[in-house]
């Protein structure tokens, strides 16, 4: 499976520049399509087996064997990894296709697909790896691809620094991953998932909590949760397909995947689960409030992503892994669709991202409008779209864990309906504000609909967004998502699909909340463009998180760095290094005098050396 992506990457790396636009894009897409087909075949093969036997380890070669550490390059195929692989390759394939149109005429066209293919390869390594170390390789691989792709237009200062920001926030999380790995290895002596699970009793107690919290730190970095969430909005500087693929559908869910993968260890530690649940819930809420005040269409979507992943994390913390994965899959469809739709809008308006400068686009971009509509209803949680089922699943489980967190989730659901509708109305309804001239610039031309390579993925994703809920309907008991994934999550707290009264009530509340959010937004934003009282500075500025980091960490470490550079480095370290270097040099120059070039001196050296050793040896026997 990953092989196709790797081959695509290598081919494009070697010949991409020569092949150029648009063939390079097609090659990249075909490579991912190959991965997708391979994933489908494996998936089909796996689903024919009885549910207990759906677990394979395919070992390719021994990667590292040092002392007690034996790491194989091996993949683990089970329902969880296959689910991930399926939707990663599927969504990637569509987004590759879309990019062929979106990146047209870009200077570094082929380079874009090089990175994109490498990203998919890394992502597949991440989800298929059978041990923590190999997962970490994929983890770092997607991290670095994300860095390259965010700063793809590196001539822009903001893009370059956004890339750096993404990278640094992720590195902070990676430290957690590494420490967790060291801890697991020191206790269990292996990094293989199945062996770790088999010996998980060793970890019971404080160790499990420590391991899971460290891994959760890694997850907060990759999946943009509090406290490491603020890189994601900045990452929107990348090309829109990148935002769709990496920063909505796939990479940012890696943290959730990791936590689900380690569910057997997580089950040992209720404390860590509480932390995870609370952080997830709070993130979901905070990000939703911020999303309701942003002007940039992509930033709204970015905070919405953070909020939705917050739901997933909340689900994981509540032990509802299946619900988390279910939401992840549905989210990949509708959020990918939202981003691609936004990309289509941006493309149509020639790189305009400001919501206040859009309006009435439904007339001009009918395809985009129709598909966006589906995505909007989905994410807002309107039945019977997929968002309703998956979010409902999460909230039902959260209610079982803690009604307080459930309440927070419901408030967030209202907010979700609200900010998505605000975006939708501002962009597609109202007046043709893009006709107004920009202060100091000209008005836009009439928007144009995107080419078919961009529309096709929109339509496909719209179909899935609408219908994905059918994977896991509450009244279906066989061949559904839950029983498919159940073997992986032996310790899941997942509620049974019994249609109890409580569940029906909860579901009704969800649906009502979605309509409340939409209704409020309709009332407020249908015709108005500016409502400063609802767009508080506090929200626009992301609760001043960035300023907080800047003051508490940024500035002091800058002064520290300046101090280090000016005093410590220049005086102490350079002094020591230069001192050592000149010492070595001086010694060398002196020693070189012995190297006279005369054979007689060399022979003398040998004779002295021999004499010295003989004297040494014999002296030992005499004393």
């Amino acid at each position: 499976m990953p092989l196709f992506a790797l081959v695509g990457f290598l081919v494009l790396l070697a010949f991409g520049r020569r092949i150029g636009d648009p063939v390079a894009g097609w090659i990249g897409t075909l490579a991912i399509a190959g991965s997708f087909v391979a994933a489908c075949i494996t998936f089909a093969g796996l689903s024919h087996l009885p549910s207990g036997a759906r677990e394979f380890t395919q070992t390719y070669f021994t990667w590292i064997s040092v002392g007690g550490l034996h790491v194989n390059a091996a993949i683990l195929i089970d329902p969880l990894s296959m689910t991930m692989a399926m939707f990663v390759t599927g969504v990637s394939m569509l987004i590759h296709l879309y990019s062929i149109g979106y990146m047209k005429k870009d200077r570094d066209y082929s380079k874009f697909f090089v990175y994109l293919n490498l990203f998919v390869f890394s992502m597949l390594i991440l989800v298929l790896a059978n041990n923590l170390l190999l997962t970490f390789v994929g983890w770092e691989g997607v991290g670095v691809c994300s860095y390259w792709l965010v700063s793809f237009w590196f001539e822009r200062d903001s893009a370059a620094s956004a890339g750096k920001k993404a990278f640094i926030y992720n590195r902070v999380g990676d430290v957690g991953f590494l420490l967790a790995m060291f801890l697991v290895f020191s206790k269990v002596g292996t990094l293989n998932y199945l062996s770790v699970f088999a010996n998980r009793h060793v970890l019971a107690g404080g160790t499990a909590t420590a391991v899971m919290l460290l891994l959760f730190l890694a997850a907060t970095g990759k999946s943009a949760q509090i406290p490491l969430f603020n890189w994601l909005p900045d990452a929107m500087e990348g090309p829109t397909p990148v935002s769709a693929l990496i920063h909505a559908a796939t990479m940012v869910t890696a943290g959730v995947y990791l936590l689900c993968r380690m569910n057997e260890v997580l089950a040992l530690t209720p404390d860590a689960m509480w932390v995870i649940a609370i952080v997830g819930g709070v993130t979901a809420f905070v990000a939703a409030t911020i999303a309701s005040a942003q002007q940039d269409i992509k930033k709204v979507l970015a905070f919405s992503t953070v909020s939705q992943i917050g739901y997933m994390v909340l689900a994981v913390g509540s032990g509802a892994y299946i619900a988390a994965i279910f939401l992840m899959v549905c989210h990949a469809f509708y959020k990918g669709l939202l981003f691609l739709g936004a990309g289509s809008v941006i493309h149509g308006l020639e790189d305009e991202q400001d919501l206040k400068r859009m309006g009435r686009l439904r007339k001009w971009l009918p395809w985009t409008y129709a598909t966006f509509l589906v995505a909007w209803l989905s994410i807002a949680g309107v039945p019977p779209f997929s968002g309703f089922w998956s979010k409902g699943d999460v909230l039902t489980n959260v209610y079982a864990k803690s009604p307080a967190l459930w309440a927070l989730g419901v408030v967030t659901a209202v907010l979700t309906g609200y900010y998505m509708s605000r975006l939708f109305f501002l962009a597609f309804y109202g007046k043709d504000r893009w006709k107004d001239p920009v202060p100091g610039g000209a008005a836009h031309h009439s928007p144009h609909e995107s080419p078919w390579v961009m529309r096709l993925p929109l339509v496909i994703l719209a179909v899935f967004s609408a219908l994905a809920g059918a994977f896991d309907l509450p009244w279906v008991h066989h061949y559904d998502f839950a029983s498919w994934l159940a073997p992986v999550f032996a310790h899941s707290l997942y509620l049974d699909h019994e249609g109890t009264v409580a569940q029906w009530v909860l579901a009704t509340i969800d649906a009502v909340m979605a309509f409340v959010g939409i209704g409020v937004a309709w009332h407020l934003w249908k015709s108005k463009v500016n409502r400063p009282e609802l767009e508080r500075k506090f929200l626009i500025n992301v609760w001043y998180w960035d300023d907080f980091y800047d003051t508490v960490i940024g500035r002091p470490s800058q002064s520290l760095a300046r101090f280090c550079a000016g005093v410590v480095d220049a005086r102490v370290i350079d002094g020591a290094v230069n001192g050592a270097a000149s010492l070595v040099r001086a010694t060398g120059s002196q020693a070189r005098r012995l190297q006279s070039g005369y054979v007689r001196n060399y022979a003398l050296g040998i004779a002295f050396g021999t004499a010295a050793i003989v004297v040494f040896v014999l002296s030992r026997t005499w004393w």
Partner: protein
């Protein structure tokens, strides 16, 4: 000894009693030496001079046949275990097989590199390859000798051919000088070595390694002065061959003067053979006396590591630099040998780490010298390090290959050099020689500096560096003394941007590092783009493939080295 006695007794009693010979044990040697003699005979019998291609191809065939024989031996040893033959004078075990494989591969690679060299220098005739093959035969013999006399025989076969090869380029005076120095000092050290054999024989009554070990195991030598002196002299003989300090002084001169492909061959094969015999003799025969020889090896390792690294820093000639680096590498192998003195598993780990190091070093060294040889240009003379400036622009592939090999020598991860250093250092730590391991790491850090200096030089923008250098030279000319050159540096340090200042500083360090010569000899000329022979590319490619391949997947090679140390028959 025994053979001589046998012949003497046979002449008394009439008829010669031949010892039983298992021909497989000496098959690689037979193929190598027989092939060499056959090639020489054919070359002298045919009327017209043999063309270089024919000679190279036949050398390759012979080397690969010898390699195949060695692999056959490997499977034989795997299934039947180790054994001795030729009246216990020769032993076939995993250890000897590894050395044979290594030498045969080195020979094949040298033939590939030598082809282009001979064409460029206009050296016709088969002698170059024939002598190298004879030398390789000697090296193989040293690897499987189980008798001090056979060790000496192998040593001399190896060395005498190398003396001639060092002088091979008759048009270069340095070549002759190198050969003469090597010959005189080599003769001196051989004499010491033979004296060592004599003293050992006097003390134990035998020259057979197994019997020496038996003798020492069964008898407690009360007055062991004779034995220890013999041991010391043997050690000196080996230390000379592997270029351990203070018996290293010939190395830079000889490496610099010899034809470059031969330098590569010499550094790989002579070192491997010398260490192989050294390890076998000391670990298997003198294992009982480890308390006596371990401190000596310890001390030799320390000075070898440090002197090699420090003196390499100040070289301006790439071949001299690599010569000192090879001394530094010898120090690392000594680290493994020191650990090999320990008992049981730890000792076995020491042996396998030393073997691994030798294997890794062989390919790094031959590859590096192959590149140096190609870049040497006609006359094999352009070896100033400053010539490598801007190589990354002129010949990107060659520069990349050299960078990889140098990084491997420095011990960068994902190369065999890294695993090799890791293994010997780990072995030393296991053997409780922590201070030695620390010294090794320090020397590796120093060594990294001079390897990286070359890499940096290859990739520094040519114009920029030469501008800086030009400025300094102008200043130097204007004021005429070195003080001005230091004051001219001031503006660089307080340069406009921090970044530029840093780069300047680096360059300044670089240029100053390479001793006053670099400043006195301005090398402004654009280096010519040299023509890279196809066979040399193949050789370099193989070296890189081995270095990086086994660097990324270290398991098979480590396994091989491990097996070689397990099958090692004391």
């Amino acid at each position: 000894m025994r053979v001589a006695l046998l012949i003497a007794s046979a002449s008394l009693h009439g008829g010669i009693a031949m010892p039983h010979i298992a021909y497989l044990a000496i098959l690689p040697e037979i193929v190598m030496l027989g092939g060499a003699i056959l090639l020489l005979a054919v070359a002298s019998l045919v009327r017209s001079a043999l063309n270089v291609t024919v000679i190279t191809v036949s050398t390759l065939v012979i080397s690969l046949a010898s390699l195949a024989a060695a692999l056959w031996q490997f499977f034989d040893v795997q299934s039947h275990g180790a054994y001795t033959t030729l009246d216990h004078a020769v032993v076939l075990d995993g250890f000897s097989v590894l050395v044979t494989v290594l030498v045969a591969s080195a020979m094949a690679l040298t033939a590939l590199v030598g082809d282009g060299y001979q064409r460029r220098e206009g050296l016709a005739g088969p002698e170059f390859n024939v002598l190298a093959m004879v030398s390789a035969t000697g090296a193989m013999l040293m690897g499987e000798a189980n008798d001090l006399v056979i060790v000496f025989l192998g040593l001399e076969i190896l060395s005498i051919a190398l003396y001639v090869l060092a002088a091979f380029n008759r048009r270069r005076a340095e070549s002759g000088e190198a050969a003469l120095k090597y010959f005189l000092l080599g003769g001196f050290s051989s004499a010491i070595f033979v004296y060592g054999i004599a003293l050992t024989y006097g003390a134990t009554g035998t020259t057979n390694l197994t019997q020496i070990a038996d003798f020492l195991a069964k008898n407690v030598v009360v007055s062991d002065g004779l034995l220890l002196a013999g041991l010391t002299l043997l050690l000196v003989g080996f230390a000379f061959k592997v270029a351990a300090v203070p018996f290293h002084m010939w190395t830079p001169d000889v490496y610099q003067g010899s034809p470059t492909p031969i330098t590569g061959f010499m550094s790989a094969v002579a070192k491997a053979a010398g260490f192989a015999a050294l390890i076998r003799v000391f670990v298997s025969s003198f294992g009982v006396l480890r308390v006596d020889w371990q401190p000596i090896i310890y001390a030799l390792a320390v000075v070898t590591l440090l002197v090699g690294a420090v003196l390499a820093l100040i070289q301006t000639d790439i071949k001299r630099m690599l010569a000192y680096s090879s001394i530094n590498h010898a120090g690392f192998v000594l680290l493994g040998l020191e650990a090999a003195g320990a008992l049981g598993k730890v000792g076995a780990r020491g042996v396998s780490s030393a073997l691994y190091y030798l294997f890794a070093y062989t390919f790094m060294a031959i590859g590096s010298f192959a590149i140096v040889s190609v870049l040497g240009g006609r006359g094999d003379a352009a070896h100033e390090i400053s010539n490598y400036k801007g190589l990354g622009k002129r010949q990107p592939f060659l520069a990349l290959a050299f960078a990889v090999l140098l990084l491997s020598q420095a011990g960068a991860p994902f190369t065999t050099g890294f695993w090799a250093k890791l293994q010997v250092v780990a072995a030393a730590v296991d053997a409780n020689s922590v201070p030695l391991a620390v010294i090794a790491m320090v020397s590796a850090a120093v060594a990294a500096f001079f390897y990286l200096r070359v890499v940096l030089l290859m990739y520094s923008p040519k114009k920029f560096v030469s501008d800086q250098e030009g400025d300094r030279l102008e200043n130097l000319d204007a004021s005429g003394d070195a003080v001005a050159s230091t004051s001219a540096r001031e503006p660089l340090w307080s340069g406009s941007g921090r970044q530029t200042a840093l780069v300047n500083e680096l360059n300044a360090t670089l240029l100053l590092e390479s001793s006053p010569e670099t400043i006195e000899v301005p090398d402004e000329r654009e280096g010519d783009v040299v023509n890279v022979p196809v066979l040399a590319v193949v050789a370099i490619g193989i070296c890189i493939a081995v270095t990086v391949g086994f660097g990324v997947f270290p398991a098979p090679l480590a396994d091989f080295a491990h097996k070689a140390s397990l099958l090692f028959m004391p």
